[in-house]
Structure formats: structure tokens, C-alpha cells
Symmetry: C2
Subunit: 219 residues, 2 copies
């Protein structure tokens, strides 16, 4: 049987080295940390969230965390993976990002009702450098699965960034637009609402849609 | 002068205790870790992203991280805070979440062009328990500033969760709907597009809009 992932929130009194002490206790219990977030980081109080896969019981770990002098409280919580699930990220011009979001949110709703966990995240941005930075940063976001580029003209370093994140396993969908980004994308879709719907279908386990089985790349 | 936050991605060979070793080096340099993400967590390779405020220079820290036997590579990157900035989270029924997103994305576009960094994240969800869980989990998401509840009926434990996250400093906007959630929210807005616009105005430093100066709570 595979071990379940547990979520833990630890409150501690702040100073440098808090994370080092907490992760030391988790390492002693041979816990594999799959996710970590710093929720609060003030001198008087820090709150840290961990998702941990444990070979043994959770109670011993929680007790040992509570035994640290810096720790004020430890609480088990539901994991973010279980709640927010896979993420689709839409970026580009506000008008088009909004239309892609309409399609993606409606489609995610239909899959989430059947047990999927898909969230749709957006950021309206303008400019080659900002967009290229944001595309590269998607690879540093937890749970990111697909990226939709929504605009009328994107190329240059954005194209390079698209090729980089595709190599890291991200699916990239581009609106049909001017510039070289459509050439670099997995899929090119003209209608923004359909681009959002397709992005969700690509990542949903409840959908019968795989890129490999498509007979064309541009819609 | 305040120290800048630096972003670092560390590649290491995986085993339990990786995070403990990396944070130990950062603690020795008296680095204050403001954010951390586990990007990859496979036995043969882990990638971890840190945002750190350092009292001294970054190069010594990078060199000491590289000197760890488990570390394969260390790279400085732009911080997620600098790229994706503040987050607005919209949750509820797909049709309404999409309309709120239209308003929020268009408004965020206008502020981001003037130097703000606001992203708009959504999750379509149904059911009291799932929504209450997701509301409480917003407090565990990094950079979350405002929450918009978009639906036609929300109450019970969702109302309790709304009061909890408001106490933790989150701004909550509710659509005008049946159930007790509107009573618990900071602001109640009838038009979903306007609800999205107002959510962005509340968190944008580039907007002249503060909840305290409003003469009514329901629009």
C-alpha cells in the first residue's frame, strides 16, 4: 500500500534556521517532503505548511515537532494537492486572457464535478521580457501542467522560453497570433474560449483527449 | 538599505533530508527564507526553489551550496513574488467564476501595465464541504490577498471558513447570493464583473480604493 500524503501546519517563533530545525525532525522520521510553503514569516511568529509522505505513523512526527523549543503548535490539515489539484496557467493580454479563462473555468467545472481537481490561474502581462520571464517561471510554480499564451503578437525570447518549458514537460497552447510563438507551441487554437477548453481537456484524466492522437496541430 | 530578496534554484540528488541540508547552509549564512517550493522530487533528482533575504553577498551562499556533496547545480533566478505578485482567488460555480475572472483579469491588466504585479487564480467547485476546505486552504497559498466567492447559494461551514480567513487578514468579496456567506464577507457585489474589478482595486497599490472609506458594504 502506498503511503498517504499528510498536510501539516507548524507554528513556531521566528528566527533564521526555523525551516532547518523543522526539516531535521521530518528527516529523522524518514519523511519525504513533497511540498512546503512558508505562510507567515514574521520575527515573532512563523507558520510553515508541509506535505509529507511518511513510512510510519503521523502521531510520532507531530509529537517530535511539538517537542522542539521553537514550536508553538502543530496541526494536521488537508493537502493543497487534494484541494486545488492541477493548475492551468493563462497569460497575455487582458481581453484575451479573460476569454480563455471563460472556456477553461467552464470546462474545469464539468471535470471537477466528476472528481477532478483542476484550477485555472491567470496573469495579464505585456512586453516580451516580462512574458518570457513569466513563461520560464511557470516551471517553478507547484502543480503547473499546461500554459496558454493569449495575445495577438508574441515572439523572440518568449518563443525560446516556450521551447524551454515544453522540454521540462509543460504542455503549451498558443492562440493563433502573429509572431513565432505559435510555431513553438504544442497546439495552436484560434478561438480563445476553445483554447481554454482544450487546455483543461489535455490535463483532465476524466477527458478522452490526448495531444498524440490529434491529426492536426492548428485549429 | 533593505536587503533584496534573491531567488535560487538548487538541483540535488534525491533522498530524505535534502531540504534539511540545504536549509542548514542557508541558516549558516543567516539567510531568511521567505518562500520555498519543491519543483521536482524524484529519487534521482530534486529541484528546490528558495527566496532568501541575505545580510551579506549571494556568491558565498551559492558557493557553499555547491560544495554540498548532494548538490549538482545552483542557479540564481527571478523571484516568483517579482513576477506573479499578489494573488486574487475566485471560487464557486463555473459560470459565475468565469464572469468574475473577466472583470478581475481586465482590471489587473490595467494595473500591471502601470507596474503592479497581480495574478488572478480560479477554481470551479461545488458543495459545502469542498468549498469550505478550499476557503480555509487560501490561507495556505503563498501571496493570496483577496478571495471572491462566486455562486448562487453558499452558507453553513463556508460562512465559518470565511470568518476564519478574514481573521487571518484576507479580504473576502461575495456575490449577492442566497445563504449566509454574504453576511460574513467584507463586501457584497451583485454584478460578477464588478466583483472581479473591485477585488483587484482592493489589493492594487495603484488604485485609490480602500474598504474603510466605503460608505456601504452591498453593491
Amino acid at each position: 500500500m502506498e503511503n498517504d500524503t499528510i498536510g501539516i501546519v507548524v507554528e513556531a517563533t521566528g528566527s533564521t534556521g526555523v525551516l532547518h530545525q523543522l526539516t531535521g525532525v521530518i528527516a529523522r522520521h524518514r519523511g519525504d517532503i513533497s511540498s512546503v510553503e512558508i505562510l507567515d514569516n514574521r520575527p515573532e511568529e512563523t507558520r510553515t505548511y508541509f506535505e509529507v509522505v511518511l513510512p510510519g505513523g503521523a502521531e510520532e512526527l507531530l509529537d517530535d515537532l511539538r517537542a522542539l523549543p521553537i514550536v508553538r503548535g502543530v496541526e494536521m490539515v488537508k493537502t493543497l494537492q487534494a484541494i486545488y489539484g492541477k493548475r492551468i496557467i493563462i497569460m497575455g493580454g487582458g481581453a484575451q486572457v479573460g476569454q480563455v479563462a471563460i472556456g477553461a473555468v467552464s470546462e474545469a467545472d464539468r471535470h471537477n464535478i466528476r472528481g477532478e481537481h483542476i484550477s485555472v490561474d491567470t496573469i495579464p502581462l505585456v512586453g516580451e521580457r516580462k512574458l518570457a520571464d513569466a513563461v520560464r517561471a511557470v516551471a517553478r510554480l507547484p502543480r503547473g501542467k499546461a500554459l496558454v499564451l493569449a495575445g495577438s503578437l508574441m515572439g523572440g525570447d518568449i518563443e525560446t522560453a516556450v521551447r524551454e518549458v515544453r522540454n521540462q514537460g509543460l504542455v503549451v497552447i498558443s492562440l493563433n497570433m502573429a509572431g513565432s510563438v505559435p510555431d513553438a507551441a504544442d497546439l495552436v487554437v484560434t478561438d480563445p474560449v476553445q483554447a481554454g477548453v482544450m487546455a483543461v481537456m489535455v490535463v483532465a484524466d476524466t477527458a478522452k483527449f490526448t495531444l498524440e492522437r490529434l491529426k492536426r496541430r492548428v485549429f
